[in-house]
Amino acid sequence: DKLTLQLKWVTQGQFAGYYVAKDKGFYKEANLDVEIKPGGPDVAPPQVIAGGGADVVVDWMPSALATREKGLPLVNIAQPFKRSGMMLTCRKETGITKPQDFKGKTLGVWFGGNEYPFLSWMNHLGLKTDGGPNGVTVLKQGFNVDPLIQKQADCISTMTYNEYWQVIDAGIPADQLVTFKYEDEKVATLEDGLYVLQKSLDDPKMVEKLARFVKASMKGWDYARQHPDEAANIVLENDASGAQTEKHQKRMVAEINKLTEGSTGVLDVAAAERTVETLLGGGSDPVITKKPEGAWTTKVTDAAK
């Protein structure tokens, strides 16, 4: 059976599980022919699935819930990432040691749906984000770590498995950095999950197919946890841009494994509800205005057992 998976970002260790499942034949064993489409800064997975370009997408929950409110019924069918890898990384010389020190500083934030946990956090801290003296100045961060290195920002958003290491690679040692994990600040939202359109779930055949897919994917993740270096190499082979380095990918897979540790793919409803809480508390212009209904289901993971 054919199935198309749209990733959220370019081919990298973040998606090791799926590549491993494909490369190691786990999908084939499950009688699936899976096509993996890499993403990028200009690829919005919900748009792709709305346009019929994919059956399943990897997306973060804030973006998926926002899309749902816009009338495209995305449903979470599985959640391979248990924990959030997002954090703020600051240069030590800025004197920031705790979140309260952000006042008056310039912070780099990713936009496009990823800003809500940040806004909600600032809301908790009572800091305004309008650039005034009693708040913080927010920069829209491009998809690299230059603002920190060029000292255009005091802190930038990083993922534990990616940008953080780029900062290190750029020559700023870890002891010169201060990091704040969203997970620790209790403003984390659920990251990489698998989403499908509601109508797929209405078709029992499709549900069964998806169940096989989720199962095989989780097998891929398990394998990646056991063989991180091999998983990194598989990712490298699948990278058509030829731009990834082995060192970085190995590190990334290792970090990713910390996030998927202990996940069976079943969504932790409490975590999902916490995500909703965070998003609803996102300040003046919240990403979602009401509690979503039916935004996740255990139908597929149940069938996968």
Partner: protein, 291 residues
């Protein structure tokens, strides 16, 4: 001999000057980081060492020319052109959609210009919207276009080429509208006395008279096509092509790789532009343009 005096020497001189400037800027722009590093390590750094360091950083603000050259050498010559790490491979991917897009764009531009010059309705109603079409930031709607095209099963080269087409038809259309209207009144009157058909006026007068405009526009269009092809590579998952290299380079802070890809793009464009220049010269010669 003449060629050497008239092109090689001047181009060489200018290139040398640019190289010298480039080195100077590389040192100036990269130095603060080295000083920071020294400060972090609580040491001071001698000027000679500083300069040497600025030219060998792993992620410099501005890589030194030899670093870029080395990267290009590595990715062009050391790696087989079919490998995904070869710049030749990525260049080829981009080139094919550039050429397709440019070809379609030029054709579309010329056809539109012809329609506009010959139809008052189109001149009045279409022209403003052609202009408006270009004020739409293509990068913003490219993803949607590509998603939509994907949905109707158009994939592969064509969606990327369509972005090039979208960008490149415009300079051609604008230039050709001007060019097709540039014949002298008396030359038009002459055709009028022959009661030449619109097609004859077009082929025998408007078209040859518009040649200088056509080639000038085509030079701009081919350069923009390349940009379009690169832009178009991003929303298709940035899997291959110069755009993918740029993106990945910028994403992972591989400044040297960005610059290598940029230079490759620029060289490609220069070759394309000068090819058009060559065609223009040949056509000029055939048309007896006064040297």
């Amino acid at each position: 001999m003449n060629f050497i005096r008239n092109s090689v020497v001047p181009v060489g001189t200018v290139l040398l000057a640019i190289l010298a400037l480039w080195y100077a800027f590389a040192i100036i722009l990269n130095a603060p980081f080295e000083r920071d590093q020294a400060a972090r390590a609580n040491t001071t750094i001698a000027t000679g060492q500083l300069i040497a360091n600025t030219m060998a950083q792993e992620r410099p603000v501005l890589p030194a020319p030899h670093q870029v050259a080395e990267e290009i050498r590595k990715t062009v010559f050391d790696i087989s052109p079919t490998s995904k790490r070869s710049l030749v491979y990525h260049g080829g991917v981009t080139l094919s959609s550039t050429l397709l897009g440019f070809g379609l764009g030029t054709l579309l531009g010329i056809l539109l210009a012809i329609a506009i010059v010959h139809s008052r309705t189109l001149d009045k109603s279409l022209m403003p919207w052609i202009i408006t079409s270009q004020t739409v930031p293509i990068l913003a709607i490219a993803p949607m276009i590509i998603v939509v095209l994907n949905a109707v099963n158009i994939t592969g080269l064509l969606p990327k080429a369509m972005i090039s087409t979208y960008l490149s038809f415009f300079p051609v259309a604008v230039g050709m509208v001007k060019g097709l209207r540039s014949p002298e009144i008396m030359h038009l009157d002459l055709m009028h006395t022959y009661n030449a058909s619109k097609a004859q006026v077009f082929w025998k007068l408007r078209w040859p008279a518009s040649m200088p405009y056509l080639f000038t526009s085509m030079k701009i269009a081919v350069a923009i096509s390349l940009v379009g092809a690169i832009v178009g590579e991003l929303p298709t998952g940035a899997v291959a092509g110069i755009g993918a290299r740029l993106l990945a380079g910028s994403y992972y802070g591989q400044t040297v790789q960005i610059w290598a890809a940029l230079i490759a793009a620029a060289l490609m464009a220069a070759i394309l532009v000068s090819l058009i220049g060559l065609v223009a010269t040949l056509v000029n010669r055939r048309m007896g343009v006064r040297p």
